[in-house]
């Protein structure tokens, strides 16, 4: 049986209650809003990119523990990375949540691996990443996880 505690690991609960990089950037170069139609979660993502590197990133919005923790962990993990590296990280993260193989080398992001046992919640974990992808491709339209 899938254990609910696999999804709600301590690290997830901590990040959802005290998210990192929560707020808005005064100076930003990229922005997108993500919206999960299913549950109404909204995330606003501000990014500052300088010469291909994500210098700063912040998110705000309202969402469930999984979407908040995921955004907190994502912003932490992409800060200082190049746009290309961030995009590769998204691919690996997405594979972790939709695949069967155990995740490798994703650091704290691996704490979200348990979400894959609960398919309806995968979108909560990927919302911030889809929003990142939209912001990086300068697609300023609101994105959804559909």
């Amino acid at each position: 049986m899938n254990d609910i505690l696999d999804m709600y690991q301590e690290l997830i609960i901590d990040h959802s209650r005290s998210p990192k990089n929560f707020g808005e950037l005064l100076v930003k170069s990229h922005y997108a809003r993500g919206h999960n139609q299913l549950c109404g979660d909204i995330i606003d993502l501000d990014i500052l990119i300088n010469e291909g590197t994500i210098v700063n990133v912040a998110f705000s919005g309202d969402g469930c523990a999984i979407s908040k923790a995921s955004a907190s962990l994502m912003t932490d993990s992409i800060k200082g990375k190049t746009v290309k590296e961030a995009s590769e990280l998204f691919d690996a993260f997405h594979k972790m949540l939709t695949g069967k193989e155990p995740a490798m080398g994703l650091g704290k992001l691996e704490s979200l691996q348990g979400v894959r046992q609960f398919p309806v919640r995968v979108k909560c974990a990927t919302l911030c990443w889809h929003t990142l992808s939209a912001a990086l491709t300068k697609n300023t339209d609101q994105v959804t996880t559909e």
Partner: protein, 407 residues
Amino acid sequence: MPFDIEKVRKDFPCLAQRVSDRPLIYFDSAATAHKPQGVIDEVKEFYEKFTSNVHRGAHHLSEIATSKYHEARAYVAKFLGVDDDAQIIFTRGTTEAINLVAHGLGKIHFRPGDEIILTEMEHHANIVPWYLLAKEKQLVIKVAPVADDGSLDVLAFKALFNEKTKLAAFAHVSNALGTINPVKEMVAFAKDAQVPTLIDGAQGVHHLPIDVQELGTDFYCFSGHKAYGPSGIGVLFAKKPWLDRFPPYQGGGDMIESVAFDHINFAAPPCKFEAGTPNIEGALGLKKALEYIDHIGFAKIHEYEKSLYDYAVHRLNGLKKVNIIGTAKDKVSLLSFTIDGVHPHDVSSIFNHYGIAIRAGHLCAQPLMKRFGVSALSRASFAFYNTYDEIDHFVAAFKRVFEVFKL
């Protein structure tokens, strides 16, 4: 005879299953209700024995199907307290029924600047069709506010009426709060002001007895699937003069008397509004569902559901951080709540882990979410097939939520 819950539960085969390795506890009947065996058998029997179209040809099966379809309409009419079957239109559900009325009124009733009164607790199905019409016809939507306890501010509702008011459309029962609106008083007031009324009965028709003729409303709508019947079937009651004056909603077969390329005579209501082959098995199943409700009886349904609700509230009252949203005096057995510091979606996931199905989200009532300053709610809705024991498990699951979230 006392209410025999064990016997009732045996009538609903889908309840006897396990979810997350535990017995299913289904507290989401306000989204869609489970079906008694009689409804399932009726739909199955139609496919196995009577499959054929209605109002077509004079062969044996078509005659049976046609007659059963008419009987279903007659039963719905009786159930709603309507004398004339022609005032009962089968639709896909409440949503289509409201859209049908919006279409009809849009063609014959409204002028630019006219006003429509809605309430803050409406489901999107009773907002969006009017919004679309308002945009098209330059109408103004006025909204009656909801009080802190989730009851409608009836004085404010009445104060919205003026000479420009051309429709009042409101829920019988709120899908998010469970509030039973004083529809009798509201319809009477509107009638005095010569304003037609539409009641969205999706959350009311299976909880409360209704006599639409006595009530005097112009329109009443409901869905089959929330009333223990099949999905894809619903009902619009409309007063005959409206149906005579409304142009057809959709064109096609079955809604005509004669067709030539240069002239068409439309059929009389109700067929005028049922273009194409209808959901025959849905109508038959709906009749069985309403028969089932009648068989148990509203008095017993109300008494038992109220006792379930009161028990749940009593058990939850001891829990800190749990806020019940919607505490109006007149309520159906529907309990919306928030838990401080936990998003409803997470609550729902944890409950699901214990085999408990509840709804989480904006409940298709975003203006109401805004009114209560939340983005989403958790909602447990109790039907007469639920038990006190299930509520005990439900209360225990709250404690698991507190543990997981370290509250």
